[in-house]
């Protein structure tokens, strides 16, 4: 348990990259990039967790409760927004790429070489 969350984050990162490397479809590749990014959320929140802590939201908890780290949560929020927007932008590129190249298979894209 002491390192499991960290290792899971590493696994997610690697499996996502594996998907990117072997992808035969750019839409799938963008999905894999989203998977890769989720490793960063997992690692961030795992790092900020404290046993027996609760969320640092004091509307329904006393202000002296033992809390988990709020900073990593704010960072993870930012990170999620970044991930969603990058996905949107890349998908927009894929849509146009399909129109101009007639394919979404990275193996078939050959305009830029050397």
């Amino acid at each position: 348990m002491t390192v499991l969350p960290y290792l899971v984050a590493g696994w997610i990162f690697l499996i996502g990259v594996y998907g990117l490397v072997t992808s035969r479809d750019l839409i799938h590749a963008v999905g894999c990039l989203a998977v890769t990014q989720s490793s960063t959320y997992v690692l961030l929140l795992a790092v900020g967790y404290r046993d027996g802590g609760t969320a640092p939201v004091f509307a329904d908890a006393p202000t002296d409760s033992r809390v988990v780290d709020p900073v990593v949560q704010a960072l993870a929020l930012t990170d999620i927004v970044v991930g969603a927007t990058v996905t949107a932008l890349l998908l927009a590129l894929v849509v146009q790429l399909r129109k101009r190249h007639g394919t979404v298979d990275p193996d078939a894209l050959s305009e830029l070489k050397g």
Partner: protein, 93 residues
């Protein structure tokens, strides 16, 4: 007991991530991604991060898969090709 929840959620997340990568058809992948989004939201709640869980829920289980589906729909809508969801992507040249 919290630890048990966290471990199960972690394993679900790892499994969903692997499944999302290994499902090479984007439509299938979109559904798995949506599952991954929910699993992450659960994990984040167990890690005492409801704010992040809400965010992940909204983005990961709704907006991202929807965008992928829309992209697939656009990309597969070609003259002479039917709208089959399970059509392998490599076939369209």
């Amino acid at each position: 007991m919290t630890d048990a929840l966290i471990v199960v959620a972690l394993l679900l997340v790892a499994g969903a991530a692997t499944a999302a990568v290994l499902n090479r058809d984007p439509v299938r992948q979109a559904l798995v991604l949506s599952f991954l989004g929910l699993a992450l939201a659960l994990l984040f709640t167990f890690l005492q991060a409801p704010d992040v869980a809400l965010s992940q829920l909204a983005v990961g289980s709704a907006v991202t898969p929807l965008m992928i589906l829309l992209t697939v729909r656009k990309v597969r809508r070609r003259p002479g090709s039917d709208d089959g969801a399970d059509e392998p992507a490599g076939r369209e040249r």
